[in-house]
Symmetry: C2
Subunit: 327 residues, 2 copies
């Protein structure tokens, strides 16, 4: 174990060594670098990237309030009892007004704060302007490189999430609860992707059976697939159904590994990620090139005054910026 | 009225004239051009853009199944009785499997298919690769230029929608129904923006009062604002509450016009749109530049093999493509 002071003073390469050795402070610092878009963070990811691809990555999604954090906390306890190391990354796109509420939620993971085998981190949306997914994926890669057996990603989303980090999970778990009518409708209408596993949490609620039946009916409408989506019941506060969930996650992973879909999925996701990073950099280059450009302000004023249409303004802006020569 | 043949053969300028005169076929054809990303469509928007900004644009959002289409159909009847012309644009991000279901939903607008004062169009997501918002906004501009008094936009979304066309509405209406627990939670957690008006449809349901109370409680938690978000009850199938909804929409618009927020909102949205179009074109330029590039394939293979990290691959791809010189 190193001290906080050491880890702050060391160079990137030594930081990479510590991270690869599983040092928690090194991992924390590395994620901060990535979150701040510090070039040293990107450098670090480059250095440790060959050691990634070993962790099982499970994504948890679903509407707020269904108990995702509690469920993940219970799963972490289960995995820890089996001796596996875990990292949890929560993506929190909530508004600044309600940040407190979600932090309170996260405290349900607090049982694990003192366990060196569990690393917990959350990332927020504000200010990142589209770069959150990018930073979150880098953070997940760092957790993987730090030797965590299991990386859990958590996002809040119903329908189409802005944050597509969840696509980078090997297994996607949708968490619902009795009363999640909107999500059922979204699944039914095809505006929400079918996940790999569905969990109905808070299963001591009297409407649970109805909910499970509704979900099964929706799944029966979908196309036939190799993997039959399991619908599990959990009561995470009391730890009920958690062993079955862990077992199901292991089965799903074994199945996609055997079928070759794991490699396929990871390939597709990495390629999407490369394009997403490239696009993000193009946009940033464009914004940098335009900052303080008086001509751009005039173009935008002309759009607002309805003298120049948005597409023509965009074309003129691209001609001015020439961001292809950017970073 | 012109014939379909005329409108297919005429050049862009004559098409613009017909569109500005309110010709429905010209409007339909113009939207098809935009939807197909035909340069003639962009040219047309450029020509008619000075005639936009007159319509009242109202966006309807909310989970699938709450009755948005029925509600909009009822509102259209109400507005038609007052002699106002209407255009409806539905953005449909559903999967190809379920397209039928949502089309069935849209048939509830079918009462109006024969009324020349009502123009109805839907746009789907598939294949557009991020360009749907862009095309939808252009379509809304065309509807506005064609002299429609009221333009209604419909999107299906819970939480954060991929399709941000709704931002371009002057007034945003969130439609819920008793049982929309996930949406209430999303509002509460701050992952869903607070709309201008909330409608609880299907209000003959016994849980309506509870639902309305819950919504009011969530709104009371939010920051104080100039506009108090009204929570209305409608039973759209029987036309109940529709006159009050129309009245509320008019009040909201009068209010934001008086406060100057309408101009501010439109300014912000147009500027976002310019940047979105520019970014979209950069990405397309990048993809075009890379198509068939063998070196890119090798880079991506190296990423999948964990030899090269995604960010470094993105940087190399940007260096190869130099898309700043694109269209």
């Amino acid at each position: 174990m190193t001290t906080a002071e050491d880890s702050r003073e060391e160079g990137p390469s030594s930081l990479a060594q510590r991270l690869l050795a599983g040092d928690r402070r090194a991992l924390a610092r590395a994620i901060t670098l990535v979150e701040n878009d510090d070039p040293a963070g990107w450098e670090l990811v480059r250095e440790v990237y060959p050691s990634t691809g070993r962790a099982a990555v499970v994504g948890f999604t679903g509407p707020p309030g269904v108990g995702k954090s509690t469920l993940m906390g219970a799963l972490v306890s289960h995995e820890r009892a089996l001796g596996r190391s875990v990292a949890v990354l929560s993506i929190d796109p909530s508004s600044p007004f309600t940040r407190g509420a979600l932090l309170g939620d996260r405290i349900r993971l607090a049982d694990h704060f003192l366990d060196p085998g569990v690393f917990i981190r959350s990332m927020a949306n504000r200010g990142a302007l589209g770069g959150l997914s990018e930073a979150a994926l880098q953070a997940a890669l760092l957790m993987d490189a730090a030797g965590r057996d299991l990386v859990l990603l958590e996002t809040v989303g119903v329908g189409q999430a802005e944050v597509d980090i969840i696509d980078h999970a090997d297994t996607v778990v949708l968490v619902l609860m009795p009363g999640s009518g909107d999500s059922i409708q979204a699944l039914k209408a095809g505006v929400m992707e079918i996940p790999d596993v569905i969990v109905v949490n808070k299963s001591d609620h009297p409407m649970t059976d109805t909910m499970v039946r509704e979900i099964r009916a929706v799944l029966a409408l979908g196309p036939r697939a190799d993997w039959q989506v399991p619908v599990l019941r959990t009561e995470a506060l009391r730890g009920e159904g958690i062993a079955e969930l862990a077992q199901t996650l292991a089965s799903h992973r074994a199945e996609i590994e055997a079928q070759g879909t794991l490699a396929e999925r990871r390939r597709r996701n990495l390629l999407n990620e490369v394009m997403a990073i490239a696009t993000q950099r193009l946009r940033r280059g464009l914004e940098d090139a335009l900052r303080g450009d008086e001509g751009v302000r005039e173009l935008l004023d002309a759009v607002v005054a309805r003298r120049l249409d948005p597409a023509s303004a965009a074309a003129e802006i691209l001609a001015r910026a020439d961001p292809g020569h950017g970073p």
